[in-house]
C-alpha cells in the first residue's frame, strides 16, 4: 500500500484495513493531521469542541494487580493505602456540584477487602447527589466477578441497578496479550477487557475506550488495539469516545522515556482515521499539557476531556498539569471552536441536550469528501457554482427553499429579482407553484408547502412527491426546508433557530416513498440531513442575532391535530427535541430523489405539556406561548427572507461531496434504476 493509495482511500471515505493503517505512519505529521482533520469535519461538521465538568474519585489505592506502569497503587498491607471514607466523599461531591459538575469518574485499585455492596453503596451515594457515575473500568469489573463468583453480566446488572451510568475505558492499555503479559500480567486479558465492554454495551451502558501507548508495544500492536476496538464497535456501537494517551514513565517500574508530542499527535490522527465508527476522540491534556492538547484539536480530536478536579493516578507519576474550566474554554475558543459542556454520555449540557452521536457513527465507511480548496492537484472539483447560463432562457435554480404559506412574497417585498413562476407537471399529481428568483447571481426556487393563500393545504395533505418531483425537474439539487415546530426540549425557546440533525418518524400518513410496491427505497438515513448543507448553514448563522441550536432530534407527526401531552412525554423519553408535521416524510422523499436536504426550524411554541399553558379558545400556537415569546417568533418570521439571502451563497456554493447525490446508487448498479432519474418513473 503506497502512501498515496492510503490517502486516496481516506479521501474516498473508504474503511482502512490493517495494511493501509500501518502505512499511515509513513506520512509526515502535517499530512496525517490534515487527513484526520478532514475526517473529523466529516464526522462533526460543526466547529464545536466539548468538555465535561467532573471529578476523578479514586475510592481506593490498594491494589493486588501491581501493574508496572502504575505509580498510584499500594499493595494490601503497605503503608499509605486508603479506602475513601464517606465524609471526604460527601465533601468531594459537594465541591463537584458547586463547580457545575455533572458526574464523577469513579475508579480504584483491585482491593480484595471490598465486597460488592461497597461498590453498590458507593454508586447509590453518588447518584443521591444527582451526579452521573462514570465508573469502574473493565479490570475492576472482571476482578469483582472473580471475587464474587458472579458473572460479568450480573455484576454489571447490579451496578446498573445501583445507578451506574457509563463505564470508563481505562485498563485497556494495549489490547495485545504479549504486551499485557509484560506490563500488567495480573490485570484482565485483552479478551476479557473486550468482553466486559461488549457485555456492558449489550446491557445498554455506554463506555469509552482508551489506549496507553509509548512503552514497549510496537506500532503494529497499537493498530491491533484499534482494530479490535473497531470490530467490537461494529457489533455494539456502544463506545462513545476513544482516548489515547502516552505512558508516563516517572515513578513506575517500567521507566524509559515518554513518547514525544509528535508521536502522540500521529497516534491520535491514526486513531481518527482507523476508528471510523467512533463518534468522538478526546485529547489527553493531562499527559500532553495545554498547548499540545489544544493543537491536538487539529489532529482529529473533538473533545477536550474533563476538568478533572482531581487526578491521582497520573499525578502520582509527577506529571501535574492543572486546567480550570475557564482555561479549557479559552483554549478551545482560541483555536477557533465553540466550547460546549457535555455529560459523561456525550449529551450537551444546558443546550440541545440530545446527544452528540456523530453523523457517521456507523460501522460503514464514511461518505467521500473531495477537497474544497482551489489549489493544484485536487481532482473532481466543481468550483463554486455560479448560475448556469440557461440555453433557452428558462431558469435552472439549483437551490430551493420550501417554506410556509406565500413565502415567495417575502422575497418580492424585498425587491429580489423575480424570474417567474414554474409549474412542472409530475407523475404524482399537481405540484404547488415554484417561484424562481435571482439574487447576487444565484438563482433559487421558493415553494410554499401549504399553498399560497391562507393555510389551504394542511400537513397530511401536502403532496410532497409532486412538489419534490417538480423541484428536481427544474434542476434543483439542494433543498432548505424552513419549518416551524414546537419544542419538546425546554432549552429550545420560541424564536430560537434549530438545525435538526436527526428524525424520529412518528407519523402515520403517507405516501412515504416514490417506489411503492417496487422493492426499492432501502436507504440508510445516517445522516438524515445533508452534512454539507447543514455545516454551511450552521457556519453561516454563527453570527445571526437569533440563537441557533446545532443539534436536535425532530419528531414528525401526522396532524393536522396537535399532539397530546402524553405523546409529547413519550417523545421526550425517546430523545425528541422538536415536534412538527412538516419534515416527515418530506426529507425521506427528497432523499429518494437524491436531493441534498437540510432543515432550518424556528421554534414557535413549547409543545403541549412542556410548560403549563392552559387552553384558550380561538387561538392555537399563540395559546401555547407567552406574549414575549410570540414577539420573538414574529421577529424570526420577519427575518425569514434575510436569513435565506444570507445563507444563499453558502447553500449554492457547497459542493455536493456528501452521499446525497448517489443514494440510489445500489439500484442503479443492480440495473433496477436507470442512470437518469427521469427514467425512474414511467
Amino acid at each position: 500500500m503506497s502512501r498515496l493509495k492510503v490517502i486516496d482511500r481516506i479521501l474516498e471515505g473508504r474503511r482502512l484495513d490493517a495494511t493501509d493503517a500501518l502505512s499511515l505512519w509513513d506520512l509526515d505529521v502535517l499530512t496525517l493531521g490534515r487527513l484526520a482533520d478532514l475526517v473529523r469535519r466529516r464526522v462533526h461538521p460543526e466547529p464545536v469542541v466539548t468538555y465535561v465538568v467532573d471529578r476523578n474519585i479514586n475510592y481506593t489505592n490498594i491494589c493486588t494487580s501491581g501493574c508496572k506502569f502504575c505509580a498510584f497503587y499500594r499493595a494490601p498491607g503497605d503503608p499509605g493505602g486508603y479506602v475513601l471514607d464517606l465524609d471526604s466523599l460527601r465533601q468531594k461531591l459537594a465541591e463537584t456540584l458547586a463547580a457545575g459538575g455533572t458526574g464523577i469518574l469513579l475508579q480504584g485499585g483491585l482491593n480484595p477487602a471490598l465486597p460488592l455492596e461497597f461498590y453498590e453503596n458507593l454508586v447509590g451515594f453518588i447518584r443521591g447527589f444527582g451526579l452521573q457515575v462514570h465508573g469502574f473500568s473493565p479490570p475492576e469489573i472482571s476482578f469483582l466477578a472473580r471475587q464474587t463468583g458472579l458473572s460479568v453480566e450480573d455484576i454489571l446488572a447490579r451496578l446498573i441497578t445501583a445507578g451506574l451510568s457509563s463505564i470508563p475505558g481505562g485498563g485497556a492499555e494495549i489490547l495485545s496479550d504479549r504486551v499485557r503479559r509484560a506490563i500488567s500480567p495480573n490485570k484482565c486479558t485483552a479478551g476479557e477487557w473486550l468482553q466486559v465492554m461488549g457485555t456492558a454495551h449489550g446491557l445498554g451502558l455506554k463506555t469509552t475506550a482508551t489506549m496507553m501507548f509509548g512503552h514497549l508495544e510496537t506500532r503494529a500492536e497499537r493498530l491491533e488495539h484499534l482494530m479490535r476496538l473497531r470490530d467490537l464497535q461494529d457489533r455494539t456501537a456502544g463506545f462513545t469516545a476513544f482516548i489515547p494517551w502516552t505512558f508516563q514513565p516517572g515513578g513506575t517500574a517500567l521507566g524509559g522515556k515518554p513518547a514525544g508530542a509528535l508521536e502522540y499527535l500521529k497516534t491520535l490522527a491514526v486513531s481518527r482515521l482507523v476508528l471510523d465508527n467512533f463518534p468522538n476522540l478526546q485529547v489527553s491534556w493531562v499527559t500532553q499539557g495545554a498547548k499540545i492538547a489544544q493543537v491536538a484539536l487539529q489532529f482529529g480530536a473533538n473533545d477536550f476531556g474533563s476538568t478533572m478536579l482531581e487526578e491521582n493516578v497520573v499525578a502520582a507519576t509527577g506529571v501535574t498539569f492543572r486546567l480550570s474550566r475557564e482555561e479549557i474554554v479559552r483554549l478551545i475558543t482560541a483555536a477557533g471552536y465553540s466550547a460546549q459542556q457535555r455529560d459523561h454520555v456525550y449529551r450537551l449540557v444546558g443546550e440541545g441536550g440530545q446527544g452528540l452521536t456523530a453523523s457517521c457513527c456507523s460501522s460503514k465507511p464514511l461518505p467521500p469528501t473531495s477537497c474544497r480548496g482551489l489549489g493544484a492537484g485536487c481532482g473532481g472539483r466543481e468550483g463554486r457554482s455560479s448560475p448556469r447560463p440557461s440555453p433557452h432562457n428558462t431558469s435552472f435554480p439549483k437551490v430551493a427553499i420550501i417554506a410556509r404559506v406565500g413565502a415567495h412574497r417575502d422575497f418580492l417585498a424585498r425587491g429580489v429579482e423575480y424570474r417567474g413562476e414554474q409549474r412542472p407537471s409530475t407523475p404524482f399529481g399537481e405540484a404547488n407553484p415554484v417561484h424562481v428568483f435571482l439574487h447576487d447571481g444565484v438563482e433559487f426556487a421558493v415553494l410554499s408547502r401549504h399553498g399560497e393563500e391562507g393555510y389551504r393545504v394542511s400537513a397530511p395533505f401536502v403532496n410532497d412527491r409532486a412538489n419534490l418531483y417538480a423541484l428536481k425537474a427544474l434542476g434543483v439539487e439542494k433543498i432548505l426546508a424552513w419549518c416551524a415546530p414546537g419544542a419538546i426540549n425546554e432549552a429550545m425557546a420560541p424564536g430560537n433557530l434549530v438545525a435538526p440533525h436527526d428524525v424520529l418518524d412518528e407519523g402515520k400518513g403517507g405516501p412515504h416513498t416514490f417506489f411503492p410496491g417496487r422493492g426499492q427505497g432501502f436507504i440508510r438515513h445516517n445522516p438524515v440531513f445533508c452534512p454539507g448543507l447543514r455545516q454551511a448553514l450552521i457556519e453561516r448563522l454563527a453570527d445571526s442575532p437569533f440563537k441557533l441550536h446545532t443539534k436536535a432530534v425532530y419528531v414528525g407527526t401526522t396532524g393536522p391535530r396537535l399532539e397530546t401531552p402524553a405523546e409529547i412525554r413519550k417523545f421526550a423519553v425517546l430523545g425528541g427535541d422538536l415536534v412538527g408535521q412538516t419534515l416527515v416524510p418530506e426529507v425521506f422523499l427528497a432523499r429518494e430523489l437524491e436531493l441534498c436536504y437540510a432543515a432550518l426550524c424556528y421554534v414557535v411554541n413549547f409543545a403541549e405539556g412542556v410548560k403549563d399553558r392552559p387552553y384558550e379558545p380561538g387561538v392555537l400556537f399563540e395559546g401555547l406561548a407567552t406574549a414575549a415569546e410570540v414577539e420573538r417568533v414574529r421577529e424570526v418570521e420577519a427575518a425569514f427572507a434575510d436569513i435565506v439571502l444570507k445563507l444563499l451563497p453558502e447553500l449554492a456554493g457547497t459542493e455536493r461531496d456528501c452521499p446525497c447525490s448517489r443514494l440510489m446508487e445500489r439500484y442503479r448498479r443492480r440495473g433496477d434504476l436507470g442512470e437518469d432519474w427521469r427514467t425512474w418513473f414511467p
Binding site: R34, A290, A334, R372, A376, G377
Partner: protein
C-alpha cells in the same frame, strides 16, 4: 488525489499559489494567515518554504547563557527580569564572577556564549569591553553573541560614542554578533503603553543595520501574546523584512511568547499552542529574506518546539543549562535538555539534527 493544495480554509489556496510561485506575500496575506482557523494548512505552507531552504535539517547549538546583571532603568511592563538597583533580587556580576562562570564550563564543547542584561545605569563602558576580552582570553575560539540593540544604544550613551564607534570598539574586544532582543512589537501604540522608555523601533533597526554594515550579524525577535493586534504583528514582520532587504545582516527571527507571570501584566493569559505555532509559521512565510526561524524551546516547551519543526522553524536553540530571564517569568519548562534528549526530540520529528555554530556552520560531531 492528494491533499497538498486542499485547505480546510479556502482562503489559503491563493496564498498556496503564491508560495509555489515564490512570490512575496503582502500584508493582507499575513493577516489571512494569522486569522485562519486552519492551523495545519498554515503549517503546511510554512513547511514548504522551510523545506525549500533547509530540507529536513534541524539546527541546535551548544551554548552558554550569561545574564551579567538584571539592573535596569527601563521598567518595561512585560519584563519579569529587570529590577531597579535597590530592589530586592537585583544583582550584577563582577568581572571575576563572570570569568568564574566561564571557567566552570571550559570542559564543555560550547561554541557560543550568549550575553544579555538590563540597562545598568552605572557600570562603565570598560566593564563591557573587559568582559568580552576576558572571556575571549579564556575561550579564544568561542563566538560571543552579546548585547541586544537596546543595550548597545545604552552603551553608546554611557561611552559618549556613536553607535557605530561603540559597536566597532566592542567588535574589537571580541563581539561576534548581536542577539535579537528588544524589538518587542514595533507598534508605537504598544510601545507607548508597555515600554515607553525603551529604544524606539527606528533606533532599534538603526543599531541592527549599523551592525550589519560593520559585518556583525544580528537576530530579530517579536514579543507576542500581550496587547498587540494581529495587524501590529504583521506590520512588525514587514518592517523587519524591509530592513533586511537593505542590509541583509539578520540571521534568525525568533518569535518570543509572552509569559505574563511575575510581570506587570500578570492578569493576561499566556499564549496557546495555536498561537505559538502560528507565529512561527507566519514568520517563516512573511520573512522570505530571513535565513532562519528559531523556536526557542525554553519559551514554548520541548513538546511544542518539537512540533515547531513542522511549522516553519529550522532551529530550536541550545542545550541550555540555565536561562534566567524566562524562568523568572514562570516558564513551565525544564531548565535544560541533555544533548541526547535534544537529538531524540529532533529525530522523532523526522528531522536530521545538525549542531551549528552561531553563523550556522555545521560542527562536525
Amino acid at each position: 488525489m492528494t491533499i497538498n493544495g486542499c485547505f480546510a480554509d479556502p482562503k489559503l489556496a491563493p496564498i498556496y499559489e503564491k508560495v509555489i510561485r515564490r512570490e512575496r506575500l503582502d500584508r493582507d496575506d499575513g493577516l489571512t494567515l494569522y486569522r485562519s482557523r486552519d492551523l495545519l494548512g498554515v503549517g503546511y505552507l510554512a513547511d514548504l518554504v522551510r523545506r525549500r531552504l533547509h530540507g529536513n535539517k534541524a539546527y541546535y547549538i551548544y551554548n552558554q547563557h550569561l545574564n551579567y546583571s538584571n539592573v535596569c532603568v527601563n521598567g518595561c511592563k512585560f519584563c519579569a527580569f529587570g529590577k531597579k538597583a535597590d530592589e530586592p533580587g537585583a544583582y550584577e556580576m563582577t568581572l571575576e564572577e563572570i570569568m568564574a562562570r566561564i571557567r566552570e564550563r571550559l570542559h564543555e564543547p560550547i561554541s557560543e556564549i550568549h550575553i544579555v542584561g538590563g540597562l545598568h545605569p552605572d557600570l562603565p563602558f570598560s566593564y563591557y569591553l573587559d568582559m568580552l576580552r576576558g572571556i575571549k582570553a579564556l575561550r579564544p575560539g568561542v563566538h560571543l553573541q552579546a548585547f541586544t540593540a537596546v543595550e548597545i544604544a545604552h552603551l553608546a550613551d554611557i561611552a559618549g560614542l556613536s553607535v557605530a564607534k561603540t559597536l566597532s570598539a566592542l567588535k574589537e574586544a571580541g563581539l561576534g554578533s548581536l542577539p535579537g532582543g528588544g524589538a518587542e512589537v514595533f507598534s508605537p501604540r504598544i510601545r507607548g503603553e508597555l515600554c515607553p522608555k525603551k529604544l524606539s523601533p527606528s533606533g532599534w533597526l538603526a543599531v541592527c543595520q549599523t551592525a550589519h554594515r560593520l559585518g556583525l550579524n544580528t537576530n530579530a525577535t517579536m514579543l507576542y501574546g500581550h496587547l498587540e493586534t494581529l495587524e501590529e504583528r504583521v506590520d512588525h514582520l514587514i518592517r523587519l523584512r524591509e530592513a533586511q532587504d537593505e542590509t541583509g545582516g539578520f540571521l534568525t527571527f525568533i518569535p518570543l511568547a509572552f509569559h505574563p507571570e511575575n510581570t506587570q501584566l500578570a492578569e493576561l493569559s499566556g499564549t496557546t499552542g495555536f498561537d505559538d505555532l502560528k507565529n512561527l509559521a507566519v514568520a517563516r512565510l512573511m520573512l522570505d529574506n530571513f535565513p532562519h526561524i528559531k523556536a526557542f524551546w525554553i519559551m514554548i516547551g520541548p513538546k511544542l518546539a518539537q512540533l515547531s519543526l513542522s511549522f516553519g522553524a529550522d532551529d530550536i536553540d541550545g542545550t541550555v543549562i540555565e536561562e534566567r530571564i524566562t524562568h523568572m517569568a514562570g516558564a513551565q519548562t525544564p531548565q535544560g535538555l541533555s544533548r541526547a534528549q535534544l537529538l531524540h526530540m529532533i529525530r522523532e520529528a523526522g528531522c536530521e539534527p545538525v549542531e551549528r555554530d552561531t553563523l550556522y556552520n555545521a560542527i562536525p560531531s
